[in-house]
């Protein structure tokens, strides 16, 4: 089967590299391949590009260039903030987060708890999948080191009011980090207006390459390094910079600057079309996403076991044979067959949680993809 016959609707897991992005990257792989720490011409070209990208991203999210640090991706960024702010252990010992965060947050919290006695306090989601800022406020106290709440949930697409959470944190002078891996490039992110002290983001979710991400940290926040060695990233992250990927990241953000509004419009059009298509059999599933609270590029539904005989493995197999790529849980937890923690937190029993499909739309999807997808999904479910 040709790749253009395929219907890729798993853009929340990863996106294809935009052709313009790849074009921008390629010279940095083979021709202008210098190490930015080198003092000669090859090094300088790489260094200039590196700093230009930092400036661009800073401008895009409205912070200072020196507040942007490149990492290998969202997971490393999240680890950097949570560990960096907690270690070495001090008098304060508590981090407020939510039970629906990405595993990068939850697993890091487990590690900090087990090894350094850092106490995580988890806010549970509302029925609609969002985190109530008031509940975060209720948990803030003298022992709170920091707060970390994701901007958009990767499985449901539900947005959180991080501006409100940031206000609460600011009122108590507590640093606030937000995992914006799913919202970066899908919503306008202005760190000054939102009032967040730190955000984590990744390039491969915005049509950039894998292996590159960044963390924004407000210049007034001190934190321990995650990776030691070398004076790169102003002594905050050792290791030769991934220059071709950073060149790709630059292009990906440049495209967002001029096209994000169009992207969002495109997602909304496809989203409306998809919802209309799913409406034909809406009695069979629970909508985990929300029309008003979710980003338009993610739709998650869980089928009622009482209404349809749903075997996820068979379903995904059938869909794949027809060229359809959708996801059951988030990509990172889908390696294991455990029901998604997000679905469980939404109150689904294991069977319902396992009967979940996440459809995530991308820049390169077409209305025809949606028409075909709805038809093929119905076929796979035995509804045709």
């Amino acid at each position: 089967m040709q790749s253009n016959d395929k219907i890729y609707l798993d853009n929340a897991a990863t996106t294809p590299v935009d052709p313009r992005v790849f074009e921008a990257m390629q010279p940095y792989l083979t021709e202008i391949f210098g190490n930015p720490s080198s003092i000669h011409q090859y090094g300088k070209i790489a260094k200039v590009m590196l700093e230009d990208t930092r400036d661009l991203i800073a401008e895009f999210i409205r912070c200072k260039p020196k507040e942007i640090f490149f990492t290998s991706g969202g997971t490393e960024s999240i680890n950097t903030f949570l560990k960096g702010i907690s270690l070495p252990p001090g008098e304060k010992n508590c981090i407020i987060t939510s039970s629906i965060e990405h595993m990068a947050v939850l697993e890091t919290m487990n590690y900090l708890n087990k090894n350094f006695n850092v106490i995580p306090r988890y806010v549970k989601p509302e029925r609609n999948g969002s985190i109530d800022p008031g509940e975060v406020l209720d948990l803030l106290d003298e022992a709170t080191i920091a707060v970390s709440i994701m901007h958009v949930n990767n499985e449901t697409g539900v947005k959180n009011d991080i501006k409100k959470i940031a206000e609460h944190c600011k009122s108590k002078n507590i640093p606030f980090h937000s995992d914006t891996v799913q919202s970066f490039g899908k919503m306008d992110i202005n760190v000054k207006e939102l009032g967040v002290d730190s955000i984590s983001a990744s390039a491969h979710k915005i049509y950039g390459p894998k292996g590159i991400g960044f963390i924004y940290v407000n210049e007034n926040i001190r934190y321990e390094n995650l990776l030691h060695g070398g004076s790169q990233e102003r002594n905050k992250r050792g290791g030769t910079e991934n220059i071709p990927a950073i060149a790709g990241f630059q292009k990906a953000v440049e495209i967002l600057k001029s096209e994000m509004e169009n992207d969002i419009k495109h997602y909304k059009t496809l989203h409306a079309q998809l919802m209309t298509g799913l409406n034909d059999f809406s009695q069979l599933f629970i909508l985990n996403s929300s029309e008003y609270l979710s980003v338009p590029n993610i739709v998650s539904i869980s089928f009622y076991k009482s209404k349809i005989n749903f075997d996820s493995e068979t379903l995904f197999m059938k869909l794949d044979i027809d060229g359809v790529a959708v996801s059951g849980g988030s990509a990172c937890t889908s390696g294991s067959l455990k029901p998604s923690h997000v679905m469980q937190e939404l109150g689904h029993d294991n069977e319902t949680a396992m009967a979940t499909i996440r459809i995530s739309l991308g820049r390169f999807n077409t209305p025809d993809d949606i028409v075909r997808f709805v038809k093929l999904l119905k076929k796979a479910l035995g509804l045709l």
Partner: protein, 397 residues
């Protein structure tokens, strides 16, 4: 035909080989899936590609595929190896041994650990950059948990006797980690024959892409436990989380395969380039070569010229790219800890340059380098009062 500027800094980084790029290409736009996606073929294809990459990397160093953990680069691998062992073995002991001339990835990491209650021994090296095996043996105590010695030095090219170090570590029941970033793919290195327990390496030093590296973990070594350093989705046997850099891993695999096939002929060629430069330099009076005269990387040459500041060489030969210290510390003008470690004076260190030869270096480029280097040294000296004074002192009337 020469293509300026000429690149003689292959120890800092290397271009991606066209054959490597070609193999990577489909994974950006066509087979672009997340290797953790288990519900469709985009994910399966990516996962398969990672598996193949892992096998190729493992093959180059004589390891099994399941002994390779992919990371974002050698610095991360070193951090994972050293902090991972330190955290897992804190109840057994808190002593780590390394050397003064390690890469800053190792030195900064052990320095961090020393602020966390670990005791660090920095072994001295001789003037060739070799550690003293007896000193190593004497330094191991019952609370020593790890020895970390690089396979080959990034500045002076000296290859350590890894086998001997590994034997001592094994006999004293201490884990042995080696930073092989410079050695892998350049000289023959078999982790099983060498007896290495953990080994760090990177793709961009061997014509693979930046942003991908790896850590070898000897699965047969009892007591080798590692605390992960990046937590999340449980990738890489739950030792390193984060979406895998699939194109990077594919490229790394191909790069390793090419090294495995071409290592010997390439090493011979680079040695001949290097030796022709050495021979030319021998004709320049008061020049010196750093590092081990015999056991050294084929593509590395660290040389200095009395009364010739390396900064002047850089401006005098700006059509040639080379380095004056290791790439990671050359942003600032501090004297390299490696050159200090082998006992160079400040002046000698300031006049040392590093020339790196690699896969795309040509004989014509080397000829140009030699001619230019010899004439530039002469020009600088002819305008140097220091040189004049020294010569008049050493040759009294």
């Amino acid at each position: 035909m020469l293509n300026f500027p000429l690149y003689f800094d292959y120890n800092a980084t290397t271009p991606v080989d066209e054959r490597v790029l070609e193999e990577m290409l489909p994974y950006f736009r066509i087979k672009f899936g997340n290797s953790s996606s288990m519900t469709h073929r985009f994910g399966w294809e990516a996962e398969y590609a990672v598996r193949e990459g892992r096998a190729r990397v493992a093959s180059l160093i004589g390891a099994s595929p399941e002994e390779i953990i992919f990371t974002a680069g050698a610095t991360e691998s070193v951090n994972l190896a050293i902090k991972g062992v330190a955290e897992s073995n804190f109840n057994k002991g808190n002593h780590i041994i390394t050397s003064r001339i390690e890469h800053s990835a190792v030195l900064d990491t052990v320095n961090y650990l020393s602020n966390r209650g670990f005791k660090i021994t920095l072994l001295n090296v001789d003037r060739f950059g070799r550690i003293d095996i007896d000193e190593l043996a004497r330094s191991i105590t019952p609370v020593t948990i790890l020895v970390s010695i690089m396979a080959a030095n990034n500045e002076i090219g000296t290859i350590e006797n890894i086998r001997e170090i590994a034997d001592i570590c094994k006999s004293r029941n201490v884990l042995f980690h080696s930073d092989a970033t410079q050695a892998m793919g350049k000289v023959k290195l078999n982790v099983k024959q060498s007896g290495i327990d953990l080994m760090s390496f990177s793709a961009h030093k061997l014509y693979g892409p930046k942003g991908t590296g790896g850590l070898y973990l000897n699965k047969d070594r009892p007591g080798l436990e590692l605390t992960k350093q990046i937590h999340g989705g449980g990738h890489e046997s739950d030792l390193r989380s984060g979406t895998l850099n699939v194109p990077g891993i594919v490229g790394f695999g191909k790069a390793c395969e090419l090294c495995q096939n071409e290592l010997e002929t390439e090493a011979e060629r680079l040695k001949s380039y290097r030796d022709s430069v050495i021979n030319a330099i021998k004709n320049i009076e008061d020049s010196f070569i750093n590092g081990d005269p015999v056991n050294r990387l084929p593509g590395n040459l660290s040389v200095g010229f009395d009364c010739v500041d390396s900064q002047l060489l850089i401006s005098g030969m700006n059509e040639i790219c080379f380095s004056t210290g290791s790439a990671c510390s050359s942003g600032d003008m501090e004297i390299s800890h490696v050159l200090k470690g082998i006992g160079l004076t400040k002046e000698q260190a300031m006049s040392t340059i590093r020339l790196g030869f690699g896969r795309f270096t040509t004989q014509a480029e080397v000829n140009y380098l030699i001619e230019k280097l010899v004439s530039t040294v002469q020009n600088i000296r002819s305008e140097s009062p220091k040189w004049e004074l020294r010569n008049s002192e050493s040759k009294p009337n």
